[in-house]
Symmetry: C2
Subunit: 397 residues, 2 copies
Amino acid sequence: MLHKNRLFTPGPTPLLPAAQTAMASFTAHHRTADFRALFQRVLADMKEFIGTKNDVLVLACSGTGVMEASVSNLTSPGDKVLVLTAGKFGERWTGLAKAFGCHVEVLEVPYGQTFSLDDVRARLNHQVRAVFVQATESSTGARHDIEGIAKIVRAHGDETLLVVDAITGLGTTHLDVDGWGVDVIIGGSQKALMMPPGLAYCAVSERAWKRMDQTLSPRYYFDLRKERKSAAKGETAYTPATSLFAALGAALEFVRGMGNGDLAKGREELVNNAEICAEMTRAGAKALGLKLYAASPAAALTAICAPDGIDSSKIVKEFREGFDAVVANGQGEMKGKLFRIAHIGYYDYLDTIGILGALEHVLAKVTGKSIEYGAAVRAAQEVYARTQSSKQQLVGA
Amino acid sequence: MLHKNRLFTPGPTPLLPAAQTAMASFTAHHRTADFRALFQRVLADMKEFIGTKNDVLVLACSGTGVMEASVSNLTSPGDKVLVLTAGKFGERWTGLAKAFGCHVEVLEVPYGQTFSLDDVRARLNHQVRAVFVQATESSTGARHDIEGIAKIVRAHGDETLLVVDAITGLGTTHLDVDGWGVDVIIGGSQKALMMPPGLAYCAVSERAWKRMDQTLSPRYYFDLRKERKSAAKGETAYTPATSLFAALGAALEFVRGMGNGDLAKGREELVNNAEICAEMTRAGAKALGLKLYAASPAAALTAICAPDGIDSSKIVKEFREGFDAVVANGQGEMKGKLFRIAHIGYYDYLDTIGILGALEHVLAKVTGKSIEYGAAVRAAQEVYARTQSSKQQLVGA
């Protein structure tokens, strides 16, 4: 059969056609009034999208680049920092903080788990200059309790900063950045904003800006204060990825449209969409007797354990060969043990039902067992029907 | 939830991304070597796609334009012609032939039916200068027996021409144009070739070219002999729709890729794809207790009767409002009585399973009855699994 290339990976995610068109047709030079107008509109809209009054910066790099920026701008060599890690991206925080000479305390829980708030509280003290954590751990599909963690960090006053990698979290989970007092929140373009990789962004609190006056770690390309100064003049410190800015502008307009003209509402719709796709997928997987990997699953993606005795690489391969559908394998120590289906950004009902239908064929093929066709789909449809009827009740109420 | 615009109409059909890109980036002037090279490559490829050694012409118009061209170029006022009609597009042949002053004999069967070959044979005589028919009647989803009809027409020798509107038939049904002796076969860009409307094409037999030396109906823009002369020089008689030619070139490359470098094989793959999507859809509809409208259903589209007492307009509306999925209502006298789901061109397994899942919700909503979720999907999955296992047996054989 004909196959469409179907991305179900937790980034890159399916592209918004309006973003593709905007990107393909954009030609303006970056030191012109045209680009400045786009740039300033995008930065203002990004504040609404993230839900913050803090300054937002958009850089030409991957999400890891802005993770590095938050380490290099907020710490000095020898600073004590606390990394909360529950997977491959948590480990990246440790690697980054060590690379910049921090004294790294690690609160580690097994892959697939999340942190107990008591453990976080116990590991925190006034020497800890910053806490680094993920909103959602993309390698395991786990959701962390950022609100709870933020309460603990904020209780320490201003000397401890909270830095949240929300690269797969923004637009898939509710985050009250300013209300909870998150100092740096980080996102990437190839996630809920439905565009290709190449841009990453962060919102930075006043507390964090003040910290940068004292920190000594080396930085140049990722010098956030320099970017902030440039942004105030409507430009970037170095050459911006102009066509990606055009795509970002179009994506933000699309999200605004989802909220009937209100970007913050549009973001909540996007989060809600991911929640429904994820709940459908979890119900579908369970109906097939599959186990979910994460104890507190994120809406960004669903990590599903391969059946006993089956290498998940075979599942990933079968999705690709049979349907040109790209799902993600486990990462790091979980490679071969689980597979991950994303719900970040541009997915709808048909995508979700379609990939669950495909999953049934894939399972039949790799296990050699007969599958009751339609079982996963039906469970997902029941979730969908319930969400729609509760929506109607809300409308009628 | 987020909705992607999902076309399930029998034209326009979903766009091939490579065709969109080609179209968006093409800028060449039409009287240049660049365009001539594209034009000549497209015409040669179109012969392979259609499966004919006859000259192929591609015109800037809708399919109806080339239907008109076949009437105006092949008949003179007062000529007796036979129209085989089983729906709205059959009626279009009658309207066109009358507009050009033909003496029109009509063999009409009810909507949803097809012709008995005995009836066709009985209505044919040596006064009939041309027979006009559809390969697939898009208004009812019926497939006509072009091979059987062609045998009857060809048995009359060269004085009766056979003109086949295969606008939704090309790329969805097997047609041996030269082997069966079809004189003019007609197609349109917004169908199996996965691109927007704006181009239509035909392949014309030597018998038909000879006829044009004698016919007297007025024609100018649609003068096929003029187009043929221009095409021999690598150009069109009037301004071609250049960007659509670029899209067509990209679509033909995609079809060639489906055949691993062989365009004719790629077309058969495309036909096979539509056949599988259609069989899945028919099985799904039947599993929900719905009746198929056409006695001999085409792979191009599936026309499904609305349940008793339900206006199909409600079904069409619910698909659009609930899923942004555009399915077609009945046309003409069948409006409100049936709905049509297309399989022409760029559809895959996920699309087909997705629309059947959506159909279950739509039916639950419009009938107010509870639906066994997954029933249509499961029936479609069983069809898919059977086609895949028979494919493997073929490969293994």
